[in-house]
């Protein structure tokens, strides 16, 4: 089945993340086409359906394994954790939600930050985890991404962000909104320093994250069929009271409207990122040696 037909078959909207956790069973029903897929085969295909191309949602450490050269990842800034500055309570206390999210994911925040090599290039990586409170951005995500960006500047290496998020974290109120300014301001510094930011957008990338660092890549790459936008489809529908066009706010739609550079199948994601790094950086040690070798050969 081609990509267009699986898009049509997909249900709209953001679904409960619990349904997408990786099962222990041998078989798994594809959420795109409904086919039963062999677990091992899914894994081999990097959690994409080989029948319809549907991309299952991944956790940050799965993206780490897909993107980074084996053994090269070093987690950084892992000690930064959320507090509950507003003492926020809705149907549950925010502090209880945080505890539950930590228990469920085994991580202490919605973003995994660290350094690693991609095709030999050293880079800083910030990988968002939708499983942790919808990958929402509060003070911790803002701080980790801003500091990681500063480390990229200090080390003079590129920054790679991978987003999968519902947007700003309401439970930290205005402080969450300000993380948009904070991360964007640090990215402006990265830009002024002549360094590269590759932004990858996975399903879903919406709200305050799309309206800040996720849209500020020098190169913006999206996974197929990802929901990407500022406002969520339900909010838009409630506001304008019209049906939304076919494929609205999906990666392919965004590329068509000029908002994304490349839509890339997960199996080619690393290759494309490495190609971008190859072209736009000069500081991969292997490449530097190559260049030196070339120069020597030419007797320069």
């Amino acid at each position: 089945m081609d990509q267009v037909s699986w898009l049509k078959r997909r249900k709209r909207g953001i679904k409960d993340s619990k349904k997408r956790e990786m099962p222990d069973g041998l078989w798994r029903k594809c959420e795109g086409c409904g086919e039963i897929v062999y677990h091992k085969e899914l894994e081999r295909n990097l959690w994409t359906c080989n029948k319809c191309g549907y991309h299952f949602r991944l956790q940050a450490n799965q993206y780490r394994d897909i993107l980074v050269d084996p053994g090269s990842f070093v987690e950084l800034l892992s000690g930064i954790e959320s507090t509950d500055p507003l003492e926020f309570v809705d149907s549950k206390k925010y502090s209880d939600r945080l505890t539950a999210a930590k228990k469920k994911t085994g991580h202490n925040s919605a973003v995994l930050t660290g350094s690693g090599r991609l095709g030999g290039h050293l880079a800083m990586l910030a990988l968002l985890d939708f499983g942790f409170l919808g990958g929402s951005m509060g003070s911790v995500m803002g701080e980790k991404i801003a500091r990681l960006t500063r480390m990229a500047i200090e080390e003079r290496v590129p920054l790679i962000t991978l987003s999968s998020t519902g947007g700003a974290r309401m439970q930290e109120g205005i402080l969450s909104l300000m993380q948009m300014a904070k991360t964007s301001a640090m990215l402006a510094r990265l830009h002024d320093e002549g360094l590269l930011h590759v932004a990858i957008q996975a399903h879903p990338t919406t709200g305050g994250v799309t309206a800040s660092f996720a849209s500020l890549g020098d190169v913006i790459i999206a996974e197929p069929g990802a929901l990407i936008g500022f406002a969520g489809p339900r909010v838009i529908q409630q506001t304008i009271r019209e049906d939304l066009p076919e494929g609205f706010q999906r990666s392919e739609f965004l590329m068509e409207h000029g908002m994304i550079d490349i839509v890339v199948h997960r199996k080619e994601l690393k290759d494309v990122v490495v190609k971008v790094l190859d072209f736009f950086t000069n500081d991969g040690p292997d490449r530097a040696e190559d260049t030196l070798g070339q120069a020597r050969k030419q007797g320069l």
Binding site: V140, M180, A181, A185, D192, A211
Partner: protein, 318 residues
């Protein structure tokens, strides 16, 4: 009493009675000084009673008051000889944001602000102050023009939020806001932000990155509207009042959270009760902050602006 808030009405009625009594007494040449004094003191008590302990939801209603001064009202009250510049040079002119230049006292300044409408016709034209991407792009174009010639920038924030529509998404609402945050963070001229009414989420922040962020006393600034927060987290938009309390959205709250630099006091009851007084307070605050910022070179200015936003947020390190 159309266009007034429920909790304002008892005071307004009393004030009306005082006015009537005064003009009646003048006409009839009667001495009502005693009665007037009694009513005035009653009005004063009522004022304290109503405005002394406003709930966050009441502040929200004042921030959205249909009579509240808007950007172009402040531009007029500040005595700025405003020349408006239109369009983003990409798609169209978005009237939900106004941009242009003029003199504030003797200083040349660039002005950008959300603009709401006073009546239905104006509100359709202005889209209730909810900008499309082209509004943010126009704002940035004019701010960059100002920066090119070293002119300080003043922005007035007053929007329910960026417009959530099909065209807005197609033309990159998120990208437009993101680029504004990025660019405003390193424009080499002083930027003073004044939240004059509603600071609605990314739509507000899209013209809200600067060296000083000021808020009028009865304005609000939040990550999502109280109604939006209520419908998502409380599953009921009617619980907006509860959401407003949970999110802490007033000038006092934001001052305590270290997000704003100054609260500009409003006349009793809010800016709409005495717009000129509000205008004077805003003018005084802008003048004071611009004078301070002009002492800094552009490198120092941008460095401090980055440090200001880097310091925002609360977390622990374990």
């Amino acid at each position: 009493m159309a266009g007034w808030l429920e909790f304002e009405k008892p005071l307004l009625e009393l004030e009306q009675r005082i006015d009537e009594l005064r003009s009646f007494a003048d006409d009839q040449n009667l001495d009502v000084a005693k009665e007037l004094a009694r009513l005035e003191s009653k009005a004063e008590d009522l004022r304290k009673q109503i405005y002394g302990k406003l709930t966050r939801w009441q502040v929200t209603q004042i921030a959205r008051h249909p009579r509240r001064p808007y950007t172009l009202d402040y531009v007029r009250m500040l005595g700025i000889d405003f020349t408006e510049l239109h369009g983003d040079r990409r798609f169209r002119d978005d009237e939900a944001i106004v941009a242009g230049f003029g003199h504030l006292n003797s200083r040349k300044v660039v002005i950008v602000g959300h603009q709401k409408g006073r009546d239905t016709k104006q509100n359709i034209q202005r889209n209730f102050g909810m900008a499309h991407p082209e509004g943010y792009r126009k704002a940035l174009r004019v701010m960059k023009l100002g920066a090119k010639f070293g002119r300080p920038i003043i922005t007035f924030v007053d929007t329910p939020g960026a417009w959530p529509g099909i065209g807005a998404e197609e033309r990159g609402q998120a990208e437009a806001i993101a680029v504004n945050l990025f660019e405003m963070s390193h424009l080499p001229v002083p930027i003073v932000i004044v939240v004059i009414g509603e600071g609605g989420s990314g739509g507000a922040l899209g013209i809200g990155v600067g060296d000083r962020v000021l808020m009028l006393e009865y304005s609000i600034y939040s990550v999502i509207s109280p109604e939006g927060c209520a419908s998502i987290l409380f599953r009921d938009a009617a619980r907006a009042s509860q959401a407003a309390d949970a999110m802490k959205i007033t000038a006092k709250d934001l001052s305590e959270l270290g997000v704003i630099d100054e609260t500009v006091p409003e006349p009793p009851g809010g800016a709409h009760r005495d717009p000129e007084a509000a205008g004077r307070a805003v003018g005084e605050a802008i003048e004071r902050h611009l004078s301070e910022l002009e002492q800094m070179g552009s490198v120092e200015l941008v460095r401090k602006r980055l440090a200001k936003f880097m310091a925002m947020g609360e977390f622990k390190e374990v």
